[in-house]
Symmetry: D2
Subunit: 443 residues, 4 copies
C-alpha cells in the first residue's frame, strides 16, 4: 500500500480481546504504521468500551508509538476512510450467548456458540449487523478490507461475499494455533512447516504436513493419534482415538469434537449445566468481569497474561499478520476464510472455505489442494456447508423455511420436529435482535 499513514476501525472495540489487538499493532508498528485507530462500539457496551479505551491509551503511551486513538459510539465516523475495518462484535452480548448455549440443551442438543443450534442463533443475530457495516463501508471506505473475527466467522464471510461488494477476509485463531502446536511438536520453527488445512471455519482438517520437502503426514498422524495435545483452550480436551485418526487420514480441529465426540461433549455440557446451572458463557462472563477489573487498573499498561485463559491465543497474531501482509504485499501463506472458487471441488463455488492462501496486496489468493478430499471428510463438510448456506438465507431474508431446513440438515440436530421446536424457541428468545423475522409467522 505504501501509504505512510493507516487508519484502522475496530468495530466491537469494547471486546475483552481488544488489548490483544492493541499489543499487536504496537509490536508491528514499524512494518504496519497505523496512525489512526478507532475503537467503536454500541451504546450498551459504552462502559466496557471506555475501560478498553483507557487501557489501550495507556498501552500506546507506554509504547511511544505515534498511534492516535479514538473511542467512539459513532460507527460511521470510525469507518470513514479506513484502510482496514476489523469486526469483533457480539450482538446481544454474553447474555445472548448464554441463551444460545442453554436453549439447545433443553432439547438434548449440543449448545455451542459457533455451531449447531447455538451457532445458528448467533448467525441470525450477527449477519444483518455485519451487512449493515458493509453497506457503510461501501459508502465510506469502499476500498477497505473487512477483517472479520466475529463468529461464526465462516458463515459471516460467506454472507459478506454473497451480499456485499466489500473485500473481506474471515479470520480465526484456530489455524495459527494448530500450526504453532505442530511446530512445537516437531521442535522446529513454524516457518519451516507446510501444513495443508482444508475445510471451513471450525470444521477444518489438517490434511498434510511437509517439513523440508518431505511429506510427514503419516508420521504426524501417529504422533497425534491418541494424544490430545492439539486443541483450543476453550474446548474440553477429549482424546482422539488412535485408530480413528488413522482411518480419518487427517487431524480434526478442536471443534470437530462437537461432531466426532458429540455424545461425550453433550454429556459434559449437560452435566455441568444440570449441576451448576452454568454453561461456557457463564464462565466467560466471570473471566471477563475479572479481566475488566484488571483492565481498569491504572498501572496496567500491557496485555495481562490472564487474557489467555479467555481462549484468544494468537488472535492478535492472526489479525495483525493478515493486515500487515496485505499492507506489505508479503506473499506469505496464511489460513483464512475466502470464497471457494473451485478450490474445494466438492463444494459450490460461491461458499466460504478456510484454506491456505498467499496474502498479497490485493488480499488472499487460495492455493490448490494437493488432492481431492476423501469421502469421510467430504461428506461431513458438505452437509455442514449446506446448513451454512441455508442459515445465511434465513438470516438475510428472515426466511423461516430456510431456517427450519438449516437446523434439520445440521448433523447435530437432524430431527425435523426437534429442529422446529428449538427454532421456534430461538426466534422467540432472540426476537429483539431478529427484526428480519418479525413479519414471519411459524405455523
Amino acid at each position: 500500500m505504501k501509504k505512510k499513514q493507516l487508519k484502522i476501525a475496530v468495530i466491537g472495540g469494547g471486546s475483552s480481546y481488544t488489548p490483544e489487538l492493541i499489543e499487536g499493532l504496537i509490536r508491528y508498528h514499524d512494518v504496519f504504521p497505523v496512525s489512526e485507530l478507532y475503537l467503536a462500539d454500541v451504546k450498551p457496551g459504552e462502559e466496557k468500551l471506555r475501560i478498553i479505551g483507557e487501557l489501550a491509551q495507556r498501552m500506546i503511551d507506554a509504547s511511544g508509538k505515534p498511534i492516535k486513538l479514538h473511542v467512539t459510539l459513532d460507527r460511521r465516523e470510525a469507518i470513514r476512510g479506513a484502510d482496514f475495518v476489523s469486526t469483533q462484535i457480539r450482538v446481544g452480548m454474553l447474555d445472548a450467548r448464554s441463551r444460545d448455549e442453554k436453549i439447545p440443551l433443553a432439547y438434548q442438543l449440543i449448545g455451542q456458540e459457533t455451531t449447531g443450534a447455538g451457532g445458528f442463533a448467533k448467525a441470525l443475530r450477527t449477519i444483518p449487523v455485519i451487512l449493515d457495516i458493509c453497506r457503510e463501508m461501501e459508502e465510506l471506505a469502499p476500498d477497505a478490507f473487512l477483517v472479520n473475527f466475529t463468529n461464526p466467522a465462516g458463515i459471516v464471510t460467506e454472507a459478506v461475499s454473497k451480499y456485499s461488494k466489500i473485500r473481506s477476509v474471515g479470520l480465526c485463531n484456530l489455524p495459527i494455533s494448530t500450526k504453532m502446536q505442530i511446530a512445537e511438536l516437531y521442535g522446529v520453527d513454524a516457518s519451516e512447516l507446510f501444513i495443508e488445512m482444508a475445510g471451513i471455519n471450525h470444521l477444518n482438517w489438517t490434511m498434510r504436513l511437509v517439513i523440508d520437502g518431505k511429506d510427514q503426514t503419516a508420521d504426524f498422524l501417529e504422533r497425534v493419534a491418541g494424544a490430545s495435545g492439539i486443541s483450543m483452550k476453550n474446548i474440553p480436551d477429549l482424546e482422539w482415538d488412535a485408530e480413528f485418526i488413522r482411518s480419518l487420514g487427517a487431524l480434526p480441529c478442536a471443534y470437530h469434537r462437537y461432531f466426532y465426540m458429540k455424545d461425550e461433549m453433550y454429556r459434559e455440557m449437560s452435566v455441568k449445566h444440570r449441576e451448576t446451572g452454568k454453561t461456557r458463557a457463564d464462565d466467560v462472563k466471570e473471566v471477563e468481569a475479572e479481566l475488566f477489573e484488571l483492565y481498569k487498573r491504572p498501572e496496567l499498561t500491557s496485555k495481562p497474561p490472564q487474557l489467555e485463559k479467555r481462549g484468544g491465543a494468537y488472535y492478535s497474531e492472526a489479525a495483525v499478520q493478515l493486515m500487515k501482509s496485505i499492507y506489505n504485499d508479503t506473499g506469505d501463506i496464511q489460513v483464512v476464510n475466502v470464497r471457494n472458487n473451485g478450490i474445494i471441488a466438492c463444494l459450490p463455488d460461491d461458499v466460504a472455505i478456510e484454506v491456505n492462501c498467499v496474502i498479497k496486496s490485493d488480499g488472499p489468493h487460495p492455493l490448490a489442494l494437493s488432492k481431492p478430499l476423501p469421502p469421510q471428510i467430504r461428506g461431513l463438510l458438505q452437509v455442514v456447508k449446506a446448513y451454512e448456506e441455508l442459515t445465511i438465507e434465513a438470516a438475510v431474508h428472515g426466511d423461516y423455511r430456510s431456517a427450519l431446513q438449516a437446523l434439520t440438515v445440521h448433523p447435530l440436530v437432524g430431527d425435523e420436529q426437534v429442529a422446529k421446536a428449538v427454532l421456534d424457541e430461538i426466534l422467540r428468545a432472540n426476537a429483539d435482535y431478529l427484526p428480519q423475522f418479525s413479519r414471519v409467522e411459524s405455523k
Copy 2:
C-alpha cells in the same frame, strides 16, 4: 431383443417374494416370453426353495404358459446363458437381519435393515456375494443384465458398477409405489404423471410433479403436507409436518423418516424391542412362516393376498416392467438405480443414483434433472452418499478403516466412539459372513 426364447435366473429363488415375480412373468408372458426360468438358492435355503418351486410350478401350470421351470442349488447352471439374472438374496437370512436391527439399538442407534449401522452390516455381508455372482456372469452370461433387488439396493448397484463390467440395474418398489399413490391422490392414471424423483435408493425425494404439461408441485406439496398417505407398508406411518414439507420443497420418501424423524423412529423401535424383545425381522419371520405354510397348500395356484403384508407391493411390477422394457426397447420412463455420470451434479460421477431413466434395449438412460438440488436436500444426500462410498470400500477390501469412517460419517451414528463400538460388535456377530475382514484386527 427379438429373441423368441428368454432365460431368466432368479438368485435367491427361495425368497417369499418369488410368487410375486412368477405372477408377473405369467401376466406379461405375451410381451416378455420367458421360456426357461431358473430358481437358484443356497443349501441352507433348500427347503424354502422347494416349497417356492412347487408353488411356482402350480402357478405356471394353471396359467398354461410355456415356461419351463428349473429349481437348483447350482448357481452356475442357473446363470449360464441367461438373458436376465435377478438377485434377491439375503446373506445370513432373517437371523442376520434380526441382529442388524438389534445391535444398533444397544448403542441407542436406529436399527434398520437398509440404512444406518444395520444396513451397513447387511452391505458388508451382501456385496461380496453379489460380486461373486457378477464374476460368474462375466464368465457364463456376459451380455445378461443383472437386475438387483437385494438391499441395500443402491449400494449394491454402485459396488457392481465399480467392481464389475456386468450391465446392472438396481431396483426398488418404492418409486413405483410412490407414483401409484400420487396417481390415486390425483385420480388419474399413473401414465399421466411426470414425476421427477431424485436421490439415492431409500433416500429419494419427489421433487416435481407435472400433469398435462402443468407443474403441480406446489399443489402437490400442500396435499401431502401433514398427510401420511404416501408410505410403505413396512415403515411406521408417521405424519410429515406441513411446514416441514413446504420448507423442504419436496416429498421425502418413506425411509426419510429414519432421518427426519429419527427420534420418534428410534423411540418406537426401542420401546417395541424393550417390551416385546422383537424387531421388524421377528415380525417378518412370523409372516414368512405363515406365508410358507400357505405356499405349501397344493390347492394354491396363485400369489396369495397375504403376501402384500410383507411389504412387497409392486415388487413384481417393478422387476417385470424393467425387464420387458429392455426386451421390447420400450423407451418408457422408470426410476431405477444407475451410475450417476453427472446427472446429480453435486455427487461424484461414479456413484449410484436413483432417478428417472428411459429404458431402451441397452438398458436405462438417465434423464437430466430440471434444476440443481437445493442445499437442504443436497447436504443430506451428500453425507449419506459418502457413507455409501466408504461402505463399499470396506465391504470389497475388508478395510476396517473405511468401515469405521463409514459409520462415523453416517448421520444416524456420527459419534466415532459409538461407531467403533458398534462396528466391532457387527464384525464379531457377522464373522461367519465376512471372510474379507478375517485378517483385519481392530486395535
Copy 3:
C-alpha cells in the same frame, strides 16, 4: 394438454417451407387438433405470405380438416393465446443471405449461412427479432412453447434461454434426416434404432448406434467410412476419409464438412462464385422463385415434390413430431436444442446443446450421454461454443468487442486482422438490420 382446440402461430409464415408444415398439421390432425392456424409475416414479405396463405387454404380445404386459417401482418394477433409459436423467419431475406455468403469469400473465408462469418452475420440480425417475439409471448402467450427453426437455430435457442423466460425448443431437420438415413442403411424402421447424437446445432456427432440392445457403433462407422451416403441436400457431398472416421470414432454431420474439409469446401465455393458470380443463396432464390410460381397454381392443393430440392426434407416431420409429442405427452426421444444443464460436461451449464431428449408435456428432458466426449470432439465443440456465446453477447448488447472476439475465436476465421476486417464490412452491409450496433464505433 388435453385441450380440444389448439392455436398455432407461424411467424415467417410466408416462407417457402410453410407448405411442409401445413401438410404435417393436416396429416397429424387426429392426434394434434389444430383449430386456429395463424401465418404471420412482415410487410416486405406480404406478397409471398399471400401466395402461401392461398395454397395453405387450398390444402386445408382439400383435407377436410377443421383448421381455421388466418393470414396476417399483425404478429401480436397471431401470438395472442397461442399454444405453440413457430418461428421460421429470415431477417433481411435472401438478399441478406447472399451477402452473408459473399462477404467472407472476399476475405478468403468460407461464406456459409449458419456458421463462420456468414452465420455470425445472420445471428446478429436474427437474435434481436426473436427476442422481440419472446417479449410478445411473455405478454400474450406466456405458457406457449416457442418452436424455433430459424438459423442459426442453436445460437437462437441459447439466446432465448439466456434472455427470456419463454419455454423454447430449437429444431433442425438434420438429426431426423440422419436417423432416417441410418435406418435405411440398416434396412430397419427408424423406431428400432437408438442413436446417441451429441453436440450443438450443425456441429453434431453421431456417437453411438444401438440396434436391438447391441452396440453397433463400430460396424456403423465402417459402413459410413468413405461413403458419402449420409448428408444433407444443401451441402456438397464430399466423401469422408475412412481412416478419419475411424480415428474420430463418430460420424460427423453434414455441416462438419465446413470444418474438417474446409479447404475443399472453400475451393468449391470460391470457384463457383468466381465463375458464376453466384453462391448458394442465388440458387435458392431461383428455386424459391420457381416454387412460388408453382404455389400460385390454383390446382395445387398439396405440397409439391419440388420443395424437397430446397433442402427441407423432414422439416415438417421434425416440427409436427415435436409439437404433437408435447401435446400428447408422448415421451418419445427426439434430438432437439435445449439448455445444457450438465449433460455435456465439458460445456457451460447455460448454453444450448443438441442431444437426445424425451419429449413430455412440459417439453424436452435431455438424456445423459453414455460417456464423456473424447478430446477430438470436445476441443472443436468447445471452441465453436465459445464463438456462439460471444456472438449472443454481441447480438443482444450490440457489443463490438464481443463481436470481434467471436470471429477471432471461430476456427473458420482465427486471424484477428481478418476478423476485424470482415466484421467491419458485415456491420456496414447489415447496418439497416443492426440497430443495436448503431451507437458503437469501431476504431
Copy 4:
C-alpha cells in the same frame, strides 16, 4: 532441503544454453550449494558437450565456487542420486527442427518449433525420450525433481504427469520475461507486481496486473495495446491491434501471434523460406555455430553476451530460481507448468497448465485464478489443449488415430485431408526417431 551438498544432472548438457545455467548456479551458489554437477548428452552431441564442458569448467574455476563438474555420455551415472534433473534435450537436433519448420510450409501451414504440425512432430520425438529419463529417475533418483525445459514444455510436463510418478515441473522463460518487461514498463521492481497469468505453455494470457493493492489491468491493456513492446526475441515482433487487445481483455503471449496473426506469420515464414530456403532453425544453426566458436576460446570464462541473441533470456533465471526456491522452501510465486487439479475449471483435471504457483520445498502449489476465463480465451485454450492431449496419446502409444485427430483439431491445421498428408510426411521424415510408430500402418 537443508542438505549441504546438492547433485544436479543436466540432460542435454551440450546445449548452447548451458552456460546460462552454469552462470546461474555460480551466482546463486551461496543459497543453492551445488557440489556435484553432471552434464550428460548423447553420442552424436559428444563434441558439443566437450566444448560446453570445458567452458563450464573455466567458468567454475574463475568463480572459485566448490562445484565439481562431471561431463559424461552415461545418463544413468548423471541421474543416480541427483537432487534435481534438468532436461534440455533436442531429439534429432537442429536438423529435425529444420524439418519440423519446413514440412508444414509445404502444406501452406505455419511451421513452428513448438506448436502446429512442427511442434507436434517435436512432441512425438521428445516424449518417449523424456519418459525413458523418468523411468531411470524412478530407479536411480526417485525423490529428485525433474525440471524440464524441453519444448513443447507443457506437453512434456503433461506426459510426465500422466505416465510417471516422478515429481516434475515444466519451465519456460516466457512468463519471467513478460514479468520483467511489465516491471520495466511501469518502472518498478518485478517484486512489486502481482501478475495473473493463465493458460498453457506458449499459450498463456496475462489476465490481471496488481500493483500495490490496486488492479491496474485496464491501464495496462491500454499501454500495451498497439505497442509491440512485450515479446520474445525469437518471434517476429508484430504489433497487436489496440481494439483487439481491449476486446480480448488480456495480453496474449508472444506465441499467440501464431494464432491471432496466423496469416501474417505464415506469410513472413513462407516468404523467407521461398526467398532464402531458410527457416528459423537455419538461423539458429548459424548462431549456434558462432556461439560454439566463441565457447571454444580458452580465454572465455563467462557467458558471452551473444547468447542472448539465441532467445534464451532469463532461462537460467527461471531454472535456478525454481530449484533454489524448492531447496530453500522460499514460498515465492513463479509461473510454471503443473497438473491442473481444477485451477482452470474449463480444462480436465489431469492436464498441464501454466499458472502462478507458490514454490515450497515439496514443489509448486498453484494459486486459484481470481475469476473464470472468458469465452474468447477459454475456447482457444480448450481446443489447443485437446490437441495436446491427443498428441500425448499418439506419442506414448504410437497411435496413428490419435495423431490424425490431434492435427485435425489443431486450429493451425483443421482440415483433415491436410492433416493426414502432413502427418504421413512427418512420420516418414522422422521414422528414425519414432520407433513407437513402427508397427503402425497408415491406410
